[in-house]
Amino acid sequence: MEHHQSKGDTLSPHPNPNRNPCPICLGPVNDESYLDQCFHKFCYNCILRWTKVAAYKHSAPPTSVKCPLCKTENFSIIHGCDGFSFRRHFIGQDFHKSDFFTKAHKYRLQSYYCETGTLIDVFNPTRYWKLHKYLQPSHWLYDWMRREIQALTQEEDVDIIVHHILGVIESWRRNEQTSSRTSPEAKQERFRILVSEAARCFLTGRTNQFVNELEMFLASGLNMDAYDKVYLKNLGWKIPEINEDEEEPHEHAPVVPNLYLFDEHSDYTE
Protein backbone atom coordinates (compact mmCIF):
# COMPACT_ATOMS: atom_id res chain seq x y z
CA MET A 1 0.00 0.00 0.00
CA GLU A 2 2.69 2.49 1.03
CA HIS A 3 4.63 1.50 -2.02
CA HIS A 4 1.69 2.30 -4.26
CA GLN A 5 1.02 5.59 -2.65
CA SER A 6 4.52 6.95 -2.80
CA LYS A 7 4.55 6.10 -6.47
CA GLY A 8 1.22 7.83 -6.95
CA ASP A 9 2.48 10.95 -5.24
CA THR A 10 5.39 11.41 -7.57
CA LEU A 11 3.18 10.90 -10.60
CA SER A 12 0.22 13.10 -9.78
CA PRO A 13 0.66 16.87 -9.74
CA HIS A 14 -1.83 17.25 -6.90
CA PRO A 15 -0.74 15.73 -3.62
CA ASN A 16 -3.18 13.10 -2.51
CA PRO A 17 -5.25 14.61 0.32
CA ASN A 18 -5.69 11.17 1.76
CA ARG A 19 -2.11 9.97 2.02
CA ASN A 20 -2.53 8.07 5.25
CA PRO A 21 -5.92 6.43 5.13
CA CYS A 22 -7.25 4.23 7.88
CA PRO A 23 -6.00 0.73 6.99
CA ILE A 24 -9.42 -0.72 7.80
CA CYS A 25 -11.88 1.48 5.90
CA LEU A 26 -9.25 2.99 3.56
CA GLY A 27 -10.98 6.34 4.07
CA PRO A 28 -9.67 9.43 5.85
CA VAL A 29 -9.06 8.71 9.51
CA ASN A 30 -12.07 9.67 11.57
CA ASP A 31 -11.59 10.19 15.33
CA GLU A 32 -7.87 9.45 15.16
CA SER A 33 -6.85 6.67 17.48
CA TYR A 34 -3.68 4.75 18.15
CA LEU A 35 -2.85 1.34 19.54
CA ASP A 36 -0.84 1.75 22.72
CA GLN A 37 2.19 -0.38 21.84
CA CYS A 38 2.86 0.01 18.13
CA PHE A 39 1.09 3.37 17.67
CA HIS A 40 -0.46 2.43 14.37
CA LYS A 41 -3.27 4.80 13.49
CA PHE A 42 -6.93 3.90 12.74
CA CYS A 43 -10.40 5.40 12.90
CA TYR A 44 -11.67 4.84 16.42
CA ASN A 45 -14.80 3.03 15.26
CA CYS A 46 -12.88 0.88 12.78
CA ILE A 47 -10.34 -0.42 15.28
CA LEU A 48 -13.01 -0.82 17.94
CA ARG A 49 -15.13 -2.94 15.60
CA TRP A 50 -12.12 -5.03 14.65
CA THR A 51 -11.29 -5.54 18.33
CA LYS A 52 -14.78 -6.93 18.88
CA VAL A 53 -14.61 -9.22 15.85
CA ALA A 54 -11.17 -10.47 16.86
CA ALA A 55 -12.52 -11.20 20.35
CA TYR A 56 -15.01 -13.75 18.98
CA LYS A 57 -12.13 -16.07 18.15
CA HIS A 58 -11.35 -16.47 21.84
CA SER A 59 -13.39 -18.38 24.35
CA ALA A 60 -12.79 -15.81 27.09
CA PRO A 61 -12.80 -12.10 26.25
CA PRO A 62 -9.19 -11.20 25.55
CA THR A 63 -7.47 -8.22 27.13
CA SER A 64 -5.33 -7.51 24.12
CA VAL A 65 -5.65 -7.16 20.37
CA LYS A 66 -3.11 -7.77 17.65
CA CYS A 67 -2.46 -4.80 15.42
CA PRO A 68 -3.97 -5.45 11.96
CA LEU A 69 -0.83 -4.00 10.41
CA CYS A 70 2.07 -5.40 12.42
CA LYS A 71 0.53 -8.04 14.73
CA THR A 72 1.98 -6.38 17.82
CA GLU A 73 0.00 -7.19 20.96
CA ASN A 74 -1.79 -4.06 22.20
CA PHE A 75 -3.77 -3.49 25.37
CA SER A 76 -5.64 -0.29 24.76
CA ILE A 77 -6.79 2.17 22.13
CA ILE A 78 -5.76 5.76 22.66
CA HIS A 79 -8.09 8.30 21.12
CA GLY A 80 -9.62 11.74 21.51
CA CYS A 81 -6.21 13.40 21.82
CA ASP A 82 -6.64 17.17 22.02
CA GLY A 83 -3.06 18.06 22.90
CA PHE A 84 -3.73 18.04 26.63
CA SER A 85 -5.51 14.84 27.36
CA PHE A 86 -6.67 11.71 25.66
CA ARG A 87 -9.15 8.92 26.16
CA ARG A 88 -8.22 5.32 26.50
CA HIS A 89 -10.27 2.24 25.76
CA PHE A 90 -8.91 -0.88 27.38
CA ILE A 91 -9.43 -4.04 25.35
CA GLY A 92 -12.03 -6.33 26.85
CA GLN A 93 -12.98 -3.88 29.55
CA ASP A 94 -16.66 -3.36 29.85
CA PHE A 95 -17.80 -0.65 32.22
CA HIS A 96 -21.42 -1.64 31.96
CA LYS A 97 -20.52 -4.70 33.97
CA SER A 98 -18.66 -3.01 36.79
CA ASP A 99 -20.91 -1.91 39.62
CA PHE A 100 -19.14 1.22 40.72
CA PHE A 101 -19.24 2.97 37.35
CA THR A 102 -22.73 4.40 37.45
CA LYS A 103 -24.48 6.65 34.99
CA ALA A 104 -23.48 9.56 37.16
CA HIS A 105 -19.84 8.59 36.68
CA LYS A 106 -20.41 8.55 32.95
CA TYR A 107 -21.85 12.01 32.94
CA ARG A 108 -18.94 13.28 34.97
CA LEU A 109 -16.46 11.74 32.56
CA GLN A 110 -18.36 13.12 29.59
CA SER A 111 -18.39 16.60 31.03
CA TYR A 112 -14.62 16.59 30.58
CA TYR A 113 -15.15 16.35 26.85
CA CYS A 114 -17.73 19.07 26.45
CA GLU A 115 -17.62 22.79 26.37
CA THR A 116 -18.64 23.60 29.92
CA GLY A 117 -17.45 27.20 29.94
CA THR A 118 -20.86 28.75 30.63
CA LEU A 119 -21.08 26.90 33.93
CA ILE A 120 -18.48 29.28 35.33
CA ASP A 121 -21.09 32.05 35.19
CA VAL A 122 -23.64 29.85 36.88
CA PHE A 123 -21.52 28.83 39.86
CA ASN A 124 -19.41 31.99 39.94
CA PRO A 125 -16.18 30.95 41.68
CA THR A 126 -14.96 34.57 41.85
CA ARG A 127 -17.71 35.37 44.31
CA TYR A 128 -16.73 32.32 46.35
CA TRP A 129 -13.24 33.70 46.80
CA LYS A 130 -14.30 37.30 47.40
CA LEU A 131 -16.73 36.36 50.16
CA HIS A 132 -14.23 34.06 51.90
CA LYS A 133 -16.61 31.12 51.54
CA TYR A 134 -13.62 28.83 51.25
CA LEU A 135 -13.13 29.08 55.01
CA GLN A 136 -16.21 26.89 55.41
CA PRO A 137 -15.45 23.28 54.42
CA SER A 138 -17.96 21.54 52.15
CA HIS A 139 -19.67 18.51 53.68
CA TRP A 140 -20.18 16.95 50.32
CA LEU A 141 -16.68 17.38 48.97
CA TYR A 142 -15.52 13.87 49.84
CA ASP A 143 -18.36 12.16 47.97
CA TRP A 144 -18.10 14.48 45.04
CA MET A 145 -14.36 14.07 44.71
CA ARG A 146 -14.49 10.32 45.10
CA ARG A 147 -16.96 10.03 42.24
CA GLU A 148 -15.03 12.53 40.16
CA ILE A 149 -11.76 10.66 40.49
CA GLN A 150 -13.41 7.29 39.97
CA ALA A 151 -14.88 8.66 36.77
CA LEU A 152 -11.59 10.09 35.54
CA THR A 153 -9.33 7.20 36.45
CA GLN A 154 -11.96 4.52 35.83
CA GLU A 155 -10.74 2.84 38.99
CA GLU A 156 -13.00 1.92 41.86
CA ASP A 157 -10.53 2.26 44.70
CA VAL A 158 -9.41 5.86 44.66
CA ASP A 159 -9.45 6.56 48.40
CA ILE A 160 -5.73 7.25 48.57
CA ILE A 161 -5.95 9.90 45.86
CA VAL A 162 -9.03 11.48 47.42
CA HIS A 163 -7.46 11.61 50.89
CA HIS A 164 -4.29 13.03 49.47
CA ILE A 165 -6.05 15.87 47.67
CA LEU A 166 -8.42 16.53 50.56
CA GLY A 167 -5.44 16.61 52.92
CA VAL A 168 -3.76 19.23 50.77
CA ILE A 169 -6.95 21.32 50.70
CA GLU A 170 -7.43 20.96 54.43
CA SER A 171 -3.94 22.10 55.37
CA TRP A 172 -4.26 25.00 52.93
CA ARG A 173 -7.49 26.02 54.63
CA ARG A 174 -5.89 25.91 58.08
CA ASN A 175 -3.14 28.20 56.83
CA GLU A 176 -5.68 30.57 55.36
CA GLN A 177 -7.62 30.79 58.60
CA THR A 178 -4.57 32.08 60.47
CA SER A 179 -3.06 34.34 57.83
CA SER A 180 -5.54 36.17 55.63
CA ARG A 181 -3.59 39.10 54.35
CA THR A 182 -3.52 38.18 50.68
CA SER A 183 -6.02 39.13 47.96
CA PRO A 184 -8.81 36.73 46.87
CA GLU A 185 -7.08 36.33 43.51
CA ALA A 186 -3.83 35.32 45.19
CA LYS A 187 -5.68 32.83 47.40
CA GLN A 188 -7.44 31.35 44.42
CA GLU A 189 -4.14 31.11 42.57
CA ARG A 190 -2.43 29.41 45.53
CA PHE A 191 -5.33 26.98 45.93
CA ARG A 192 -5.26 26.06 42.25
CA ILE A 193 -1.51 25.47 42.29
CA LEU A 194 -1.64 23.26 45.38
CA VAL A 195 -4.52 21.14 44.13
CA SER A 196 -2.97 20.83 40.67
CA GLU A 197 0.29 19.66 42.15
CA ALA A 198 -1.48 17.10 44.30
CA ALA A 199 -3.67 15.79 41.49
CA ARG A 200 -1.44 16.00 38.46
CA CYS A 201 0.35 12.67 38.81
CA PHE A 202 -3.03 10.89 38.95
CA LEU A 203 -5.06 12.90 36.47
CA THR A 204 -2.31 14.16 34.11
CA GLY A 205 -3.88 16.03 31.21
CA ARG A 206 -7.24 16.40 32.92
CA THR A 207 -5.81 18.10 36.00
CA ASN A 208 -6.60 21.67 34.99
CA GLN A 209 -10.18 20.92 34.21
CA PHE A 210 -10.47 18.91 37.38
CA VAL A 211 -9.41 21.98 39.35
CA ASN A 212 -11.98 24.06 37.44
CA GLU A 213 -14.67 21.54 38.25
CA LEU A 214 -13.60 21.40 41.88
CA GLU A 215 -13.80 25.18 42.17
CA MET A 216 -17.24 25.20 40.59
CA PHE A 217 -18.50 22.51 42.92
CA LEU A 218 -17.17 24.30 45.99
CA ALA A 219 -18.50 27.63 44.76
CA SER A 220 -21.95 26.16 44.20
CA GLY A 221 -22.30 25.26 47.88
CA LEU A 222 -24.69 22.53 46.76
CA ASN A 223 -24.81 18.85 47.57
CA MET A 224 -24.07 16.37 44.83
CA ASP A 225 -27.63 15.76 43.65
CA ALA A 226 -28.52 19.42 43.49
CA TYR A 227 -25.24 20.22 41.82
CA ASP A 228 -25.78 17.55 39.19
CA LYS A 229 -29.21 18.91 38.43
CA VAL A 230 -28.00 22.46 37.92
CA TYR A 231 -24.98 21.26 36.00
CA LEU A 232 -26.94 19.10 33.60
CA LYS A 233 -29.63 21.66 33.12
CA ASN A 234 -27.03 24.06 31.87
CA LEU A 235 -25.23 21.46 29.83
CA GLY A 236 -28.53 20.32 28.36
CA TRP A 237 -29.22 23.80 27.19
CA LYS A 238 -26.05 23.71 25.17
CA ILE A 239 -26.56 20.38 23.46
CA PRO A 240 -29.16 20.14 20.68
CA GLU A 241 -29.72 16.37 20.47
CA ILE A 242 -30.91 16.12 24.03
CA ASN A 243 -33.58 13.54 24.86
CA GLU A 244 -35.50 14.44 27.93
CA ASP A 245 -37.21 11.49 29.56
CA GLU A 246 -37.06 7.81 28.82
CA GLU A 247 -35.23 6.39 31.78
CA GLU A 248 -36.48 4.24 34.60
CA PRO A 249 -36.47 5.88 38.03
CA HIS A 250 -33.03 6.12 39.53
CA GLU A 251 -31.54 7.95 42.44
CA HIS A 252 -30.24 10.56 40.01
CA ALA A 253 -33.40 10.31 37.95
CA PRO A 254 -33.63 13.90 36.71
CA VAL A 255 -30.10 13.89 35.33
CA VAL A 256 -30.07 10.47 33.75
CA PRO A 257 -31.55 11.35 30.35
CA ASN A 258 -28.49 13.28 29.32
CA LEU A 259 -26.09 10.52 29.98
CA TYR A 260 -26.07 8.69 26.70
CA LEU A 261 -25.19 11.68 24.60
CA PHE A 262 -21.66 10.65 23.82
CA ASP A 263 -21.90 6.93 24.32
CA GLU A 264 -20.37 6.15 20.96
CA HIS A 265 -17.18 8.00 21.65
CA SER A 266 -16.49 7.66 25.32
CA ASP A 267 -14.00 5.70 27.30
CA TYR A 268 -16.39 3.16 28.63
CA THR A 269 -18.03 1.99 25.44
CA GLU A 270 -17.54 -1.71 24.91
Partner: protein, 157 residues
Protein backbone atom coordinates in the same frame (compact mmCIF):
# COMPACT_ATOMS: atom_id res chain seq x y z
CA UNK B 1 -23.04 -3.35 4.78
CA UNK B 2 -22.43 0.31 4.08
CA UNK B 3 -18.89 0.07 5.42
CA UNK B 4 -17.99 -2.88 3.21
CA UNK B 5 -19.39 -1.16 0.12
CA UNK B 6 -17.49 2.03 0.85
CA UNK B 7 -14.30 0.13 1.39
CA UNK B 8 -14.72 -1.98 -1.77
CA UNK B 9 -15.37 1.18 -3.72
CA UNK B 10 -12.09 2.60 -2.39
CA UNK B 11 -10.32 -0.55 -3.49
CA UNK B 12 -12.00 -0.32 -6.88
CA UNK B 13 -10.76 3.23 -7.36
CA UNK B 14 -7.28 2.24 -6.23
CA UNK B 15 -7.25 -0.63 -8.74
CA UNK B 16 -8.36 1.74 -11.53
CA UNK B 17 -5.78 4.32 -10.55
CA UNK B 18 -2.90 1.88 -10.26
CA UNK B 19 -3.71 -0.44 -13.11
CA UNK B 20 -0.10 -0.90 -14.11
CA UNK B 21 1.31 -1.01 -10.58
CA UNK B 22 1.44 -4.78 -10.42
CA UNK B 23 1.55 -6.34 -13.89
CA UNK B 24 1.13 -9.81 -12.40
CA UNK B 25 -2.34 -9.07 -11.07
CA UNK B 26 -5.42 -7.95 -12.91
CA UNK B 27 -8.39 -7.41 -10.63
CA UNK B 28 -11.84 -6.86 -12.11
CA UNK B 29 -15.04 -6.10 -10.28
CA UNK B 30 -18.30 -7.61 -11.46
CA UNK B 31 -20.30 -5.02 -13.41
CA UNK B 32 -23.41 -5.35 -11.32
CA UNK B 33 -22.18 -6.57 -7.95
CA UNK B 34 -19.35 -4.96 -6.04
CA UNK B 35 -19.16 -8.03 -3.78
CA UNK B 36 -18.07 -10.25 -6.67
CA UNK B 37 -14.60 -9.87 -8.12
CA UNK B 38 -12.40 -11.82 -10.50
CA UNK B 39 -8.64 -11.76 -10.74
CA UNK B 40 -6.15 -12.97 -13.28
CA UNK B 41 -2.75 -13.68 -11.80
CA UNK B 42 0.45 -14.69 -13.55
CA UNK B 43 2.18 -17.81 -12.34
CA UNK B 44 5.41 -16.75 -10.60
CA UNK B 45 8.63 -17.22 -12.53
CA UNK B 46 10.95 -20.12 -11.73
CA UNK B 47 7.99 -22.21 -10.62
CA UNK B 48 6.04 -24.85 -12.51
CA UNK B 49 3.30 -22.22 -12.88
CA UNK B 50 5.46 -19.84 -14.90
CA UNK B 51 3.80 -18.76 -18.12
CA UNK B 52 0.33 -19.64 -16.90
CA UNK B 53 -2.48 -17.21 -16.16
CA UNK B 54 -4.77 -18.29 -13.35
CA UNK B 55 -8.24 -17.01 -12.70
CA UNK B 56 -9.46 -16.41 -9.14
CA UNK B 57 -13.02 -15.78 -8.01
CA UNK B 58 -13.62 -13.53 -5.00
CA UNK B 59 -16.80 -13.52 -3.01
CA UNK B 60 -16.73 -10.71 -0.47
CA UNK B 61 -18.87 -10.96 2.68
CA UNK B 62 -20.97 -8.07 3.91
CA UNK B 63 -18.80 -7.82 7.03
CA UNK B 64 -15.71 -7.21 4.92
CA UNK B 65 -13.03 -6.13 5.84
CA UNK B 66 -13.71 -7.51 9.30
CA UNK B 67 -14.29 -10.90 7.68
CA UNK B 68 -11.97 -12.22 4.94
CA UNK B 69 -13.11 -12.59 1.34
CA UNK B 70 -13.70 -16.09 0.02
CA UNK B 71 -11.32 -16.86 -2.81
CA UNK B 72 -10.95 -19.87 -5.04
CA UNK B 73 -9.13 -20.82 -8.18
CA UNK B 74 -11.34 -21.09 -11.24
CA UNK B 75 -8.38 -22.34 -13.26
CA UNK B 76 -7.34 -25.90 -12.53
CA UNK B 77 -4.05 -25.98 -10.63
CA UNK B 78 -1.89 -28.76 -9.17
CA UNK B 79 -0.72 -27.35 -5.88
CA UNK B 80 -0.68 -28.88 -2.36
CA UNK B 81 -2.73 -26.07 -0.84
CA UNK B 82 -5.42 -25.81 -3.50
CA UNK B 83 -8.29 -28.27 -3.75
CA UNK B 84 -7.99 -29.90 -7.15
CA UNK B 85 -11.73 -30.06 -7.79
CA UNK B 86 -13.17 -26.99 -6.08
CA UNK B 87 -10.22 -24.62 -6.29
CA UNK B 88 -10.51 -23.91 -2.56
CA UNK B 89 -7.34 -22.36 -1.14
CA UNK B 90 -5.78 -23.24 2.21
CA UNK B 91 -4.13 -20.05 3.32
CA UNK B 92 -3.97 -18.78 6.90
CA UNK B 93 -4.65 -15.15 6.02
CA UNK B 94 -7.95 -16.18 4.44
CA UNK B 95 -8.96 -17.79 7.73
CA UNK B 96 -7.60 -17.26 11.25
CA UNK B 97 -4.78 -14.92 10.38
CA UNK B 98 -6.99 -12.52 8.46
CA UNK B 99 -6.44 -8.86 9.16
CA UNK B 100 -8.63 -6.01 7.87
CA UNK B 101 -5.50 -4.32 6.61
CA UNK B 102 -5.34 -6.84 3.76
CA UNK B 103 -6.92 -5.81 0.47
CA UNK B 104 -8.10 -7.89 -2.48
CA UNK B 105 -4.93 -6.82 -4.25
CA UNK B 106 -2.68 -7.91 -1.39
CA UNK B 107 -4.59 -11.19 -1.07
CA UNK B 108 -3.70 -11.83 -4.73
CA UNK B 109 -0.07 -11.19 -3.90
CA UNK B 110 -0.28 -13.61 -0.98
CA UNK B 111 -1.72 -16.25 -3.30
CA UNK B 112 1.11 -15.72 -5.78
CA UNK B 113 3.54 -16.14 -2.91
CA UNK B 114 1.76 -19.35 -1.90
CA UNK B 115 2.11 -20.67 -5.46
CA UNK B 116 5.87 -20.16 -5.23
CA UNK B 117 6.11 -21.53 -1.68
CA UNK B 118 3.74 -24.44 -1.17
CA UNK B 119 3.09 -25.76 2.34
CA UNK B 120 2.94 -29.53 1.84
CA UNK B 121 2.24 -30.17 5.52
CA UNK B 122 -1.31 -28.81 5.34
CA UNK B 123 -2.43 -30.15 1.99
CA UNK B 124 -5.79 -29.83 0.33
CA UNK B 125 -4.40 -31.78 -2.59
CA UNK B 126 -2.84 -34.86 -1.01
CA UNK B 127 -1.28 -36.20 -4.20
CA UNK B 128 0.54 -32.96 -4.69
CA UNK B 129 1.49 -32.72 -1.02
CA UNK B 130 2.75 -36.29 -0.89
CA UNK B 131 5.03 -35.79 -3.86
CA UNK B 132 6.67 -32.86 -2.12
CA UNK B 133 6.75 -34.52 1.27
CA UNK B 134 8.43 -37.61 -0.12
CA UNK B 135 11.04 -35.40 -1.72
CA UNK B 136 9.97 -36.02 -5.30
CA UNK B 137 10.44 -32.43 -6.41
CA UNK B 138 10.78 -33.39 -10.08
CA UNK B 139 7.56 -35.38 -9.96
CA UNK B 140 5.71 -32.48 -8.36
CA UNK B 141 7.11 -29.97 -10.80
CA UNK B 142 6.32 -31.98 -13.89
CA UNK B 143 2.75 -32.65 -12.77
CA UNK B 144 2.24 -29.00 -11.88
CA UNK B 145 3.78 -27.88 -15.15
CA UNK B 146 1.59 -30.23 -17.11
CA UNK B 147 -1.57 -28.85 -15.52
CA UNK B 148 -0.34 -25.31 -16.05
CA UNK B 149 0.02 -26.07 -19.78
CA UNK B 150 -3.31 -27.82 -19.94
CA UNK B 151 -5.38 -25.34 -18.03
CA UNK B 152 -3.58 -22.03 -17.65
CA UNK B 153 -2.04 -21.37 -21.03
CA UNK B 154 -3.71 -20.37 -24.28
CA UNK B 155 -4.25 -23.32 -26.59
CA UNK B 156 -1.84 -23.39 -29.49
CA UNK B 157 -3.13 -23.21 -33.03
Amino acid sequence: MQASRARLFKEYKEVQREKSADPDIQLVCDDSNIFKWNALIKGPSETPFEGGVFQLAFSVPEQYPLQPPQVRFLTKIFHPNVHFKTGEICLDILKNAWSPAWTLQSVCRAIIALMAHPEPDSPLNCDSGNLLRSGDIRGYQSMARMYTRLAAMPKKG
